[in-house]
């Protein structure tokens, strides 16, 4: 049993060393150091994983925020490691470690190599703080901290205006969600007098409108971070960052923080039926939206980005319908197969010297057999083909949502069909057929291959932690002490038929994609095509309805404010004007001064004389 604070501390030290002394690390040394520290954190997480099975660990460090730690005490910085957060630390450090290693190869020619690893380490540290926080404010530190890391890494190649804009957009849209999170914290404190998670979990929580409001506020925060509707458009733009960043931050870990937040706050959400249904439907609609938008993308990473949005929607569905464990389950398997997909895409992009347009790819399975093979595994996993990991977790979600509402299930299942379609389309465009570009693709070196293989194994077999085929399973039982309640279960026959329908639809999606591929129409979807390619015009809608008016208002306010300044100067002018008249008197002619002196004296004398003579003026 090792101290929990070691987990964020190790990568944070790596960040400090690399950002301050980055230039002292020649070659791949910086990457090796960063990877080693994350690997070390993984070891710590593993050791603690086994020790917290019985009792959660709660460490308090020092007092931090004034007056909100309950009973008027100051809130302390504290880490809380229970089964839920322990699972997350394993995912963050485990997948994080593999992606660090992969990056050593991927970023080898970059002049800012040490800085990249500094930022990656920074991200891992803040993500661990988010996961391990024992109070909402501390979780918020990690919450915005990973936003900062994401900003830095999306804008890592900041010379491009598109990248810089994407980074800023991600940060600002996240901040909209963050405001919701903050308001949620404020209301929690108002209602319950503390913001410490373990204390809140022990409190009796009653269903009332304030609680619903708390949950809706938290949902706004989760929506921002997990790119759900309506704050979803930043994630596709975030693909401007280096591909390992997309794999780590924008697929495997950071964007799932919203799911984690809801699961972590299960004691609130399970008592808030209205807010929970919002969570579920936001998730369902986003799953559909992401899938529709992914159908006609050409950028190898954008397809994956929209698929991430869609898969996050699944997780929201799960936690919305009360199947918190299923949400966490899909979070874990998704981390495996989506990281794998991104790294495979990274391997391709690396091989093609930065080419990202799938129309200039094709046939790469021949020149890059390993990448092609792991890509195929990942496609099968995300499409829900048994026995790959995605199948089990997706079934768990769909089963739970059917028990909650058949309509929600229908949305989810239709999305599964689309998922199979666009993922096979992705695979076929990149790896199948003949090569349509000019570069000379080659298989990546071992530094990149090893993480690919490791993730492929996890993506293929990761489902074993919780196959829900009929009855209970390991993961659900494992999380039960934390999440408490039993989730919704269907009768066995219903469950089996649901599974059959979903698998059939996935195969149908494959068939659809394959048929279009055979007839050479994979790259032109008529009718719906342009709508999908523009991601349902959501970006344009926001640009027109929020961004431009906000800028215009800012300009208008600026002009009004100048009026305040101008009004003041005008007052000054008015006040100084009489002064200018008296200026005329000061002519500079000595004799005029003398005369006015004389006249003044005369007036005085006259006055005195009149007074003395008793005259009345």
């Amino acid at each position: 049993m090792l101290p929990v604070y070691l987990l964020p501390l190790l990568p944070f030290l790596g960040f400090l060393v690399l950002i301050l002394f980055g230039r002292r690390f020649p070659g791949p040394l910086a990457g090796a150091l960063a990877s080693a520290l994350v690997g070390l954190a993984f070891v710590v997480a593993l050791i603690d994983f086994f020790s917290v099975r019985s009792v959660p660990m709660h460490e308090l460090l020092w007092s931090w925020l004034p007056g909100i730690g309950g009973k008027g005490h100051n809130l302390e910085i504290g880490f809380y490691l229970d089964r839920l957060s322990s699972l997350m630390t394993l995912v963050v450090t485990g997948v994080g470690f593999l992606i660090h290693v992969f990056s050593i190869g991927y970023m080898e020619h970059d002049p800012r190599f040490p800085r990249f690893f500094a930022f990656l380490n920074f991200f891992v540290a803040l993500m661990l703080i988010l996961v391990l926080a024992d109070s909402y404010p501390l979780m918020f530190v990690g919450w915005e901290g990973v936003g900062v890391a994401s900003y830095l890494l999306i804008g890592f190649w900041f010379e491009g205006k598109i990248n810089a804009n994407a980074a800023r957009k991600a940060f600002v849209m996240n901040r909209i969600g963050d405001l919701g999170f903050l308001l949620g914290i404020f209301l929690i404190f108002r209602q319950y007098g503390t913001t410490v998670l373990p204390s809140l979990a022990k409190m009796p929580i009653k269903t009332d409108s304030a609680l619903e409001l708390i949950c809706l506020f938290l949902l706004v925060g989760a929506i921002g971070k997990s790119a759900q509707l309506p704050l979803t458009t930043w994630l596709a733009d975030a693909m401007a960052g280096p591909t390992p960043v997309s794999a780590l931050i924008h697929a495997a870990t950071m964007v799932t923080a919203g799911v984690y937040l809801v699961a972590r706050s299960h004691f609130f959400f399970s008592q808030a039926p209205v807010a929970s249904s919002w969570v579920a439907w936001v998730g369902g609609l986003t799953a559909l939206y992401g899938a529709l938008s992914a159908m006609n993308q050409y950028d190898i990473k954008k397809i994956l980005a929209y698929s991430t949005i869609s898969q996050l929607g699944y997780m929201f569905m799960a936690v919305g319908v009360g199947a918190y464990w299923a949400g966490m389950y899909h979070l874990v398997t998704h981390a495996f197969f989506k990281a794998l997909l991104f790294l495979a895409a990274g391997s391709v992009i690396h091989a093609l010297q930065g080419e990202q347009d799938t129309r200039k790819m094709g046939g790469l399975a021949k020149t890059m057999p390993l990448t092609g093979a792991v890509g195929l595994i990942a496609v099968l996993a995300i499409s829900g083909i048994p026995p790959f990991s995605g199948f089990f977790s997706k079934e768990a979600i769909l089963g739970a949502s059917f028990a909650y509402s058949p309509w929600l299930w229908a949305v989810g299942t239709f999305t599964a069909l689309l998922t199979a379609f666009y993922m096979l389309r992705w695979y076929l465009l990149v790896f199948s057929g003949t090569y349509r570009g000019q570069a000379h693709p080659h298989e990546s070196g071992p530094v990149m291959a090893v993480p690919l293989v490791a993730l492929a194994i996890l993506a293929a077999l990761g489902g074993v932690i919780g196959p829900q085929l009929l009855g209970s399973n390991w993961l659900e039982n494992y999380l039960k002490p934390v999440l408490g309640l039993p989730s919704l279960h269907n009768p066995a026959t219903t469950e089996l038929s649901l599974i059959a329908i979903a698998v059939l639809l996935a195969l149908l999606g494959f068939l659809w994609a394959y048929l279009r591929y055979r007839s050479g129409r994979l790259t032109d979807l008529r009718g719906f095509g342009p709508i999908s390619a523009k991601a349902l015009y959501l970006d344009d809608l926001y640009a027109g309805s929020v961004a431009s008016p906000s800028k215009a208002i800012s300009g208008a306010l600026e002009r009004t404010d100048r009026v305040f300044g101008g009004g003041m100067s005008a007052t000054g002018e008015v006040l100084t004007e009489p002064g200018r008249w008296t200026n005329l008197w000061q002519s500079g002619f000595v004799r005029v001064y003398a005369l006015s002196m004389l006249l003044g004296t005369l007036l005085l004398v006259l006055y005195l004389a009149v007074r003395m003579l008793g005259g009345s003026l």
């Binding site: 950002i19 020092w62 007092s63 931090w64 925020l65 004034p66 007056g67 909100i68 100051n74 910085i77 803040l126 404010p137 918020f140 530190v141 919450w143 915005e144 901290g145 900062v148 900003y151 804008g155 900041f158 010379e159 491009g160 205006k161 810089a164 804009n165 980074a167 800023r168 940060f171 600002v172 901040r175 909209i176 963050d178 405001l179 903050l182 308001l183 914290i185 404020f186 209301l187 404190f189 108002r190 906000s550 800028k551 208002i553 800012s554 300009g555 306010l557 600026e558 404010d561 305040f564 300044g565 009004g567 003041m568 100067s569 007052t571 000054g572």
Partner: protein, 477 residues
């Protein structure tokens, strides 16, 4: 000891102004450093105070006290002054000329923070105006006259109201002297009537609202910063001079608790509106000084929101924010000055500076993140506490003020991106990165911004007892 601390910078100012040109800088930084060391020593030694009759016929006393919020603000003022002095002396052309004024201003600021006699406070409040006006007049930009007049008119008129209120307060309370403790004793025995409280409160508020500043009495601020010397030295001192929040905390609230409660809603609304309004305007500025001016105004809106909400958590947050915004806003002014000394412009539209000047870019970025209240840095602690506390009093106003965190993210990163990211336009010369001295100056600030963001205890220990006492006085604890 405490008097030595207070007048040491003034002595330094006199010696520096008499010294020959090459001797000015060594002398100035010695005095500034000695003041900082004294400040730290006084902090460690704990609260001290001194009270002597000064002009007994007028009831004027020489009452100083160091402890609590005053200590925190005094230490920060001494710290930032030292940074400003070193930067001005070592790196700014014509900087040695500013040093005497900067030191004189430090004495005035310390006097403001330490005075416990209303008239003495007023004297320092006005005295500080002189060096700041002179800094603007001697080293300001082309359009400085307008800024100067606006600054002068706003502050003197505001202070006049306060002077009248101070004199009226003493006679109304029947206290023997102008010492704060004497007046508080008198009002504790016979509370002032509601009407009297309201009028006197408004008198004090006139001065403090100008110095906060808060909408609509802020118009002098953006011009003041824009017209000050581009090196940012004067702006550091100007930032420290935003003492309105302190005045409200130290005098207005304890003296007129009933009036503060009467006006609470209006004032909170004004403060919340200021916060959002200024942050929104900052987005539209094309001059770094103005961006920072509006950013600072937005922070001051939060300070006011926290104070007027009369909630202990929020007041603690206000004082924390007031103290530490000096560090990041002031250092950002210096960073902007360093940028100006390299590219000769205060416009954010530079592009790609991070390639040539990674140290400047990195440090500036951390300071900006501190300024827009990224948690884990120092700005967050204050803003979070203010918003949380005011939410307990009025959720809607807290929400309006909270919208500023979105706007803050926009304006800060938009300006940052245009200067340090994106591609450098063709033909612009290479920009040298920060030297060791400049890097150290900003680096120390960054350390403070980071350290006090997570380890808040030293500051909270200074703030919280005072807030607790204030809470008992105004009956909300």
């Amino acid at each position: 000891m405490i008097s030595v601390f207070l007048f040491l910078p003034l002595l330094g100012a006199l010696l520096v102004s008499l010294a020959s040109k090459p001797a000015k800088f060594p002398l100035a930084w010695l005095f500034a450093a000695a003041t900082l060391i004294l400040a730290l020593a006084l902090w460690v030694a704990g609260p001290t105070s001194v009270s002597l009759p000064w002009v007994p016929a007028l009831g004027l006393t020489y009452s100083l006290s160091m402890g609590g919020v005053s200590t925190l603000l005094a230490v920060i003022a001494a710290f930032m002054t030292l940074l400003a002095v070193i930067y001005a002396g070592a790196k700014v052309e014509g900087g040695p000329g500013m040093l005497a004024l900067v030191l004189a201003m430090e004495s005035g600021l310390l006097g403001i923070f330490l005075s416990r006699d209303l008239l003495l406070f007023y004297v320092f409040f006005e005295f500080t105006l002189l060096p700041s006006l002179l800094l603007l007049a001697r080293f300001g930009g082309q359009d400085r006259l307008r800024a100067l007049i606006a600054f002068g008119i706003y502050t003197t008129i505001g202070s006049l109201f306060m002077l009248v209120a101070i004199i009226a307060l003493r006679s109304a309370s029947g206290a023997p002297t102008f010492a704060l403790s004497a007046i508080l004793q008198a009002t504790a025995k016979h509370a002032l009537s509601g009407t009297a409280q309201r009028w006197l409160f408004l008198g004090f508020l006139a001065a403090f609202a100008v110095k906060l500043p808060i909408f609509p009495l802020h118009a002098w601020m953006p011009d003041y910063h824009q017209q000050n010397h581009p090196s940012g030295v004067a702006d550091v001192m100007g930032t420290l001079y935003k003492v309105g929040g302190y005045g409200i905390y130290r005098f207005a609230l304890p003296l007129f608790p009933k009036a503060a409660a009467d006006f609470q809603l209006v004032l909170m609304a004004l403060a919340a509106f200021s916060t959002l309004y200024f942050a929104w305007i900052a987005f539209h500025q094309s001059d770094y000084k103005r961006i920072l001016a509006y950013a600072g105004l937005s922070h001051m809106g939060l300070v006011a929101l926290g104070l007027f909400s009369l909630n202990p958590v929020a007041i603690t947050g206000s004082m924390f924010l007031l103290a530490f915004q000096n560090v990041y806003t002031g250092s950002l002014f210096l960073a902007v000055g360093m940028l100006w000394s390299r590219v000769g412009s205060l416009s954010p539209d530079q592009g790609g500076l991070m390639v040539d000047a990674p140290v400047l870019s990195g440090l500036t970025m951390v300071l900006w993140f501190g300024a827009i209240a990224v948690p884990g840095l120092v700005g967050f602690v204050g803003e979070f506490s203010v918003l949380l506390g005011s939410y307990q009093v009025n959720p809607w106003l807290a929400f309006i003020a909270g919208l500023s965190i979105i706007a803050a993210g926009s304006y800060a990163l938009f300006a940052y991106q245009r200067s340090f990211w994106e591609a450098r336009p063709e033909g612009r010369p290479k920009v040298p990165d920060l030297g060791v001295l400049e890097g150290t100056l900003l680096g120390i600030s960054v350390v403070v911004v980071g350290l006090f963001g997570i380890y808040t205890q030293p500051a909270l220990r200074l703030i919280q007892p005072g807030v607790l006492a204030l809470g008992h006085l105004i009956g909300v604890a």
